[in-house]
């Protein structure tokens, strides 16, 4: 079987082989890409069966639209986008389950409008994150703690970088709902990260 990891197969010739219907190339592609695509689908769908379905749907869709793949980006990037779209289609059909209220994670204010708990400066988080595996794990765990409908919007907007209109269409809600959810999701994430990253904290 074709081992893509060792042969210096550039994307170009690889794509040509895929277009020509080369079964070996297709299998190599599926094996190479599935782990990463599955991780993407899992964090959006939070359900193993749905995540696998989305990856499968994504590949089927990709294979059908191979002619449309203009080679403007890498095959991995293109597959990533198709998988996100497949996951979105699954999300759309889901009924919204009851979830913890986001209000618990939003900042609180006094009657006069001042912060109830004053925000402090954070340590330099760019450097910190690149250096510390524990810090990165902490951030991922914090994102996981967000209520589903808010986490989904955060992932789609801030991580997958879809625009507001696309996310609104995908989730079947208005643009404004997406904006409000994103702002609240970011505030909630901030609340969860502050105890670790504020200067002066351990």
């Amino acid at each position: 079987m074709l081992d893509v990891s060792t042969r210096p197969v550039g994307d170009d010739s690889f794509v040509r082989r895929l277009r020509a219907g080369d079964a070996e190339a297709f299998e190599a592609l599926v094996r190479r890409e599935t782990p990463r695509l599955l991780a993407v689908a899992r964090r959006l769908l939070r359900n193993e069966e749905d995540a696998r379905d989305a990856v499968q749907d994504g590949f089927v869709s990709a294979f059908r639209s191979l002619d449309d793949f203009g080679g403007r980006c890498q095959v991995s990037t293109w597959l990533h986008r198709i998988t996100v779209n497949a996951a979105l289609m699954k999300l759309r059909t889901r009924r919204r389950k009851p979830e913890d209220p986001i209000e618990d994670l939003l900042p609180s204010f006094l009657e006069d409008g001042h912060h109830a708990r004053h925000p402090h400066e954070w340590r330099d988080t760019g450097e910190a994150l690149l250096a510390s595996r524990e810090d990165r794990a902490f951030v991922r765990a914090a994102i996981d703690r967000l209520p589903d409908s808010y986490r989904t919007v955060l992932l789609l907007r801030d991580i997958e970088e879809l625009d507001t209109a696309e996310v609104a269409r995908a989730l079947g809600v208005s643009d404004n709902v997406v904006k409000v959810r994103l702002h609240r999701a970011r505030q909630a994430l901030r609340t969860l990260l502050a105890p670790r990253f504020e200067k002066g904290n351990a």
């Binding site: 991780a39 409008g113 912060h115 951030v139």
Partner: protein
């Protein structure tokens, strides 16, 4: 008033009330997108000039977004090393005419 008397100029519109921290946080999303009008943007800037808490809030709000991206992009994001064979077979089967 008789004809010829000067009309007193209308009193100047009162300056908009300064924003509270609560209002600042509420408007933060649009502010960062540059989507507030000139007046509200000025009000946000004025609040930032006098409120170190909200300066810290804004910076940490932006940092949280960056950190989310960094954390999920990092290579230690748990990606399974093994490929689920059943899934691969299902995909290959779906491709066959």
């Amino acid at each position: 008033m008789t004809a010829g008397e000067a009309v007193a100029p209308a009193p100047a519109a009162p300056a908009p009330a300064p924003l509270t921290c609560r209002e600042f946080v509420e408007l933060l999303y649009d502010y960062l997108l540059g989507g507030l009008g000139a007046e509200r943007t000025a009000a946000m800037n004025a609040h930032l000039a006098t409120c170190p808490s909200c300066v810290a809030y804004l910076k940490s709000y932006e940092a949280s977004i960056r950190m989310g991206r960094l954390a999920l992009a990092a290579s230690d994001d748990p990606v399974p090393a093994e490929v689920p064979e059943a899934l691969v077979r299902a995909v290959l089967a779906a491709r066959r005419p």
